[in-house]
């Protein structure tokens, strides 16, 4: 257990925890775009920056991304100093120039009093904020079908050669984790399309509803040792089946009681 001071209040935290989760647990709002519990932090978006200092630093302070900074005994953290707010404002201002159509960014910027970017809107911007959440979740799933491509301002997230990604299993994790919702996908006529690749969707044996992509099911069967039958019936039907069985048991129990 370590003790840190956040905005003047002494707080207990567990060693190894990152500042961001401690700060948020204590009800202090800090914006972040690239942070997600399911993936390792990388510090791309810089919005969660806070100011830190220590008694013995003698007034010297520095700014760190709270998602990546582990708690330390005696750390003094300020989450909303004028400098910190200036950093967040500028970053949101820059992001707004980069993705002017993103509602998420617009809303966050408005919370910091920015309604229009001070900068030139980036031509051919696509609302992608380069948080790497998609590539990181894909890696966590063991696929790494997409990656950051290129360098510098031209960098983008794309499958190899900009073509159908051979390692994609159509699980949609990338699209679902994306904070600005820029990865397009569709489910139509038993077919899922994402990254220009088409996947056959499994239909539920009971109700005919589509469940998951066949490649995704195959992957889970192979890597996670899940029985094939598991994917033949959708979750809904599984639940109704369970409810029906439970009903039968209850009814039989009542009969017995009578």
């Amino acid at each position: 257990m370590v003790h840190i001071t956040i905005n003047g209040k002494v707080i207990k935290a567990t060693e190894g925890e990152m500042l961001l989760s401690v700060i948020r647990r204590h009800g202090i709002e800090i914006p972040a775009l690239c942070h997600h519990e399911a993936i390792e932090p990388t510090g791309n978006c810089r919005l969660c920056m806070v100011e830190i200092t220590r008694e013995e630093w003698d007034g010297w302070k520095k700014h760190v991304t709270s998602c990546l900074y582990p708690v330390e005994e005696g750390l003094i953290v300020s989450t909303h100093t004028p400098d910190v707010i200036e950093i967040r404002k500028t970053i949101l201002d820059l992001q707004l120039a980069n993705c002017p159509d993103s509602e998420v960014i617009q809303k966050m910027a408005e919370e910091y009093g920015i309604y229009k970017t001070s900068y030139e809107v980036v031509p051919e911007g696509d609302n992608c904020i380069m948080c790497y959440a998609c590539t990181r979740i894909c890696e966590v799933l063991g696929r790494s079908a997409i990656s950051a491509v290129g360098r510098g301002h031209r960098k983008e997230i794309a499958p190899p050669f900009g073509a159908e990604p051979p390692d994609c299993i159509g699980c949609l994790a990338c699209a679902q984790i994306c904070p600005t919702d820029v990865i397009p996908w569709t489910d139509r006529d038993n077919t899922r399309t994402i990254w220009d690749r088409k996947f056959e969707l499994i239909s539920c044996k009971e109700c005919g509803r589509q469940t998951i992509a066949r490649e995704f099911a195959d992957y889970l069967i192979e890597k996670r040792n899940i029985p094939r039958e598991y994917f033949e019936i959708c979750d809904n039907c599984k639940r109704s089946e369970l409810a029906r069985k439970m009903g039968e048991i209850v009814a039989r129990a009542q009969e017995v009681a009578i």
Partner: protein, 152 residues
């Protein structure tokens, strides 16, 4: 890829430890042998080193030493280091671009020339510097640039 290309590629894999850590070294060897990174070669690299193809592609596009398109027979590298910049590297480029009809990073349709801009080749004392194939040319006056290229 021809059978010969496959053999060359296998040779490269043989020279480097078959592990993900060899990725950059393998790509460099491919670039050196083929003068660019053919698509099939990248797929083979992914398999040989057991690295996801996306990571191979990511590295191939991150480092400027790599080219994904075939390059010309003659590579003209114009240095754009600070010293070269203030000593008129842009003028050299103007001459080459108008003389060869291509921009930096491009190759002439007959695959004879490729112009590349490099950040600094460390020959700053002789700025502006141009390298035609492996030959360094220092203090290049803009009106000689094209002649030096055609002589190569």
């Amino acid at each position: 890829m021809t059978q010969q290309d496959v053999t060359r590629l296998q040779g490269i894999f043989g020279r480097n430890p078959r592990e993900p850590g060899s990725l950059i070294a393998v790509l460099q060897d491919i670039q050196r042998e083929f003068h660019y990174l053919p698509r099939e070669a990248l797929s083979e690299t992914a398999k040989a080193l057991e690295v996801p193809l996306s990571k191979v592609y990511s590295a191939a596009t991150f480092y400027s030493a790599f080219s994904l398109t075939p390059r010309g027979e003659n590579i003209i590298r114009v240095c754009k280091g600070t010293a070269c910049h203030i000593k008129g590297a842009d003028l050299l480029l103007d001459q080459l671009e108008s003389g060869l009809g291509i921009k930096p990073g491009e190759t002439t349709p007959d695959l004879k020339y490729t112009i590349e801009v490099v950040n600094c080749v460390g020959a700053c004392a002789m700025a502006p510097v141009m390298i035609v194939n492996a030959k360094y040319h220092g203090n290049v006056p803009c009106n000689r640039a094209l002649r030096l290229v055609k002589k190569a």
